[in-house]
Amino acid sequence: MSQEYAVIGKSVPRKDGWDKVTGKAKYTGDLKFPNMLVGKILTSPHAHARILSIDTSEAEKLPGVKAVITHEDVPSLKYGISPARWDENIFCIDKVRFVGDKVAAVAALDEETVYKALKLIKVEYETLPAVFDPFEAMREDAPLVQEEYPRNINTEIHQNFGDVDKAMAEAYYVRTDRFKGQRTYQSPIEPHSAISIWDKDKLTIYSSTQSPHYFQYYIAREFGLPMGNVRVLKTHIGGGFGGKLEPTGLEFAGAVLSKLTGRPVRMFYDREDMFAHNRGRHAQFMELTTGVDKDGKILAVHANFVMDGGAYTSLGVASAYYAGALLTIPYEFDNYKFDMYRVNTNLPACGAQRGHGHPQPRFAFESHLDNIAKELGIDPVEIRLRNARKSNTTTPNEFKVETCALTEALEKARDLSGWREKKGKLPSGRGIGIGVGSFVSGAGYPIYRTDLPQASAVIKVNEDGSEATLYSGSVDIGQGSDTVLCQMAAEAMGYVYEKMRIVSADTELAPHDFGAYASRQTLMSGAAVKQAGEEIKTQLLAIAAPALGVRAEELDCREGIIFVKANPEINRTFGEAAREFFVKKGPLVGRGVYHVPKLGGKFKGAAVGTSPAYSFAAQVAEVEIDEETGEVKIAEVWDVHDCGKVINPALLHAQVHGAFYMGMGESVWEQVLFDAKGKIINANLAEYRLPTALDMPRLHSDLVDTVEPNGPWGVKEVGEGATTPVMGCISNAITDAIGVRIDSLPLSYEKVWRASKERKRNTSGE
């Protein structure tokens, strides 16, 4: 009993590990219900067109087809995930706004019939001029994607903190750089799917979702049902990364089809549908101006951004705010100005993707800071150390940062990577770069305005004390939250991880939680779980005390043994005491709830970026460039994270690996491409090139210790923050290798080839 904790801090096996590796795990699309139909959505082939007529009669006649629906069969109430901008309909009514917009849906006996029926729906369109570039979309004469947004400006932000103009005027060096990001897509391995069962007044939906709660809320609203009449739950999820946070046509259309046919309906996206539905990363156009003093200390920053939002709002209002809000976190400066236009275009809607709005601006800023360091002759690590945030500080946009070990992380990454021996000394074609990142550990405010708590949890101990079940609305989408929360529950109860069961992500069986987004669950769901566990323990010690002849305060419980703290030899088992509790008092239940304390300032948009705690990361990458072909090999990476107390090291490092992998793909390989008519030309995994296992470098994931007072046991997030430093880090390493900066993502082989060639031409011309 020498260790401080018995269950947390250990790499226990995942709760779902066995089922997943043996293929036993069932995902939504694997589920079968008696009489279940299959359904699919017909989408628009045009980027912008008026719908003149829809004729479903031929499709309805096809044997096996049970229902065909259009906008006439569904509520016309607009929905969205951002309450400020509900702008989507279940099916388009007057016009379609991108290639892939939803027009109709079919339910039939089998998939083959569904595909055939979709082809038989005749839609007459009148094509309209379309706009695909956000700058063109802002012109007065541009076609309007949504009538309610003049000049297609969906979200406009102007924030100003401190006195940027004065600080710039006083700066020793002021630099402006411009960078471009690209559209990327989350590409979860599991395609979206939803099974809707409308039975009398009850609608049950199994969905591949990151948040049963938001689905329940918006689905109930759309159909005018009390929330209690809508049950949303999930099975295993094959990844979300932000793309499964908002309900889709699969849930809405599936519900209507189920109601019409009286049968369960399984709706699904195939890979192409997923790309068209999108909600992936916005392409951002980023102009950064920074003033520094002689030593490279940042005095003021102006971020002037435009983002291509696609046809609808999705989570884009938050994406737009996050883009600028989080720029203030890793480095300390007092003066900050942020301007942003999120613009609608006739392309698929963008939303939240791992790191939500922040990774591209972080890429821009890390690249920009290296440019400044180079100009001033300061080492890139050194300039970051000089500006790194410290604990117990507040950002200019009023985010309180209680723990921050960025300095220690930078020093550790520098030392582990051999930075001093390598920087400026690597042979031709090799380069080393550094980037930092940070992220919220849960958003300070939910997506829609409500006074609901962020998280709640119930633990019920079995009648004979042999097992306990945690009920939590949290959502395990593959990141391992079921495992981590069971560890936390067992720790708080003084129980054993292996005897913990969990019922999660079911709006009927589990208590409220907002779900898996904004890296919130370890801290927020965990706080509720800890409280529930402690309530179990308190009740148990009280019932156990008399038999041991002591007062409850003299007892503790650990790994299923209740013992006298002063004399551990005097003890009894958790199970025995739990049984006694049940016999005398009924079910042994613990409850927990977590509210975020009031956070943030009072200015417009002050809520976005608030969080109880922030993670920090420093990352060094070494790359090898084939300068003749532009081929980029990411050779080795050192990532050092400040993510507070670690509950499960194996899962934590897996998050770092996965986040790096994702960031690496966005850095060099991934981009959604369109033809001149707005149709995606690489909506598949052959031409949308996610890196493969063979492209992964050797990655060292390391930690610096902090204990965050606002998190249970001191936890902070890791899942999204670990993506944020990657693009800047790789950009800086490639720049170091080829001697020239590429200002647009992805840093593709061809761009590297072109840049290397131009540099050589310029050098030989001198």
Partner: protein
């Protein structure tokens, strides 16, 4: 994303397969590995009424050495069959390597040599090395059989000299004096990426002198192409680094790549230069065919 309806035949003899193809003509398609055919059918690019599967013809999967003929590879040999063939490992390791580095393992398990050729896409990985090695293809039809150099097989993107009733049955690599050969592909990730450019070479060295060089390029023109001007640069010359670069420059000049989402024309042309030079270097240095 769903296969259209079709009639399916799996004949037990080549003669029967040819008869079926003659009967159905352009309405029928041959199925071997299906990695191209089924993909196109699922995406509505092809809607054959009849599928004639070669999967009943086991002998078409054999890889053998026939004296006086050369190495004969059955058209149904999968990429992994080729990559793992002891005979090819010994005689033409470059062909094994070309097969091993294409696509990904799942596709290499089912995709076939015949399909890789008949599909006639510029980026196919096996035609360049086979052309560099002077390979021929045998076509069986209802009217009989014919053998022609692989180099003369292709006529354009997705088109070749094969007649609707013909089936490609084997590829023959003749015995040859080559002392070194190799194929280098450039893809945009390490696995599962089509070649942006591929360069295959076979050289016959006599000491430091190159007696003969054959260079075949993939994804550098509408069809796999010989870089004959580059070959001429090398013939009967003492090899120097500058000469290899000159051959690369020459190949880049004579090829005619197109721009696509995988690379611009300009980029591909420069890759041809680099890959041709590197392939020559490798084939000369490593000295195995």
């Amino acid at each position: 994303m769903y296969l259209p309806d079709f009639e399916y035949y799996q004949p037990n003899s080549l003669a029967e397969a040819c008869r079926l193809m003659a009967k159905f003509g352009p309405r029928a398609r041959i199925l071997a590995g299906g990695t191209d055919l089924l993909h196109k059918m699922k995406h509505g690019q092809l809607e054959p009424e009849v599928i004639v599967s070669l999967n009943g013809l086991e002998r078409l999967r054999e890889i053998t050495y026939q004296k006086g003929v050369g190495v004969v590879i059955g058209a149904r040999a999968t990429h992994n069959d080729i990559a793992g063939s002891a005979l090819l490992q010994e005689k033409y390791r470059s062909v094994c390597e070309a097969a091993h580095h294409m696509a990904n393992n799942q596709i290499r398990n089912v995709g076939t040599l015949g399909g890789n050729i008949v599909n006639a896409v510029p980026s196919a990985d096996l035609p360049p090395i086979l052309i560099a090695l002077g390979a021929s293809v045998k076509l069986a039809g209802s009217q009989g059989r014919r053998v022609l150099p692989l180099e003369e097989f292709f006529t354009g993107v997705h088109s070749s000299v094969i007649e609707p009733d013909e089936i490609l049955t084997e590829v023959i690599i003749p015995d040859q004096p080559s002392t070194g050969s190799t194929y280098i592909r450039f893809g945009l990730r390490r696995s599962g990426a089509l070649a942006v450019v591929g360069a295959a070479v076979a050289v016959t060295m006599e000491g430091e002198t190159c007696r003969e060089a054959r260079i075949a390029l993939g994804a550098a023109a509408p069809v796999p192409m010989r870089a004959r001007q580059a070959e001429a640069v090398l013939k009967n010359q003492v090899i120097t680094p500058d000469l290899l670069e000159e051959a690369g420059v020459c190949a880049a000049r004579e090829c005619s790549p197109r721009s696509s989402i995988r690379g611009s024309e300009e980029y591909r042309r420069d890759l041809v230069r680099v890959l041709t030079r590197r392939a020559l270097q490798k084939a000369i240095k490593e000295g195995h065919v």
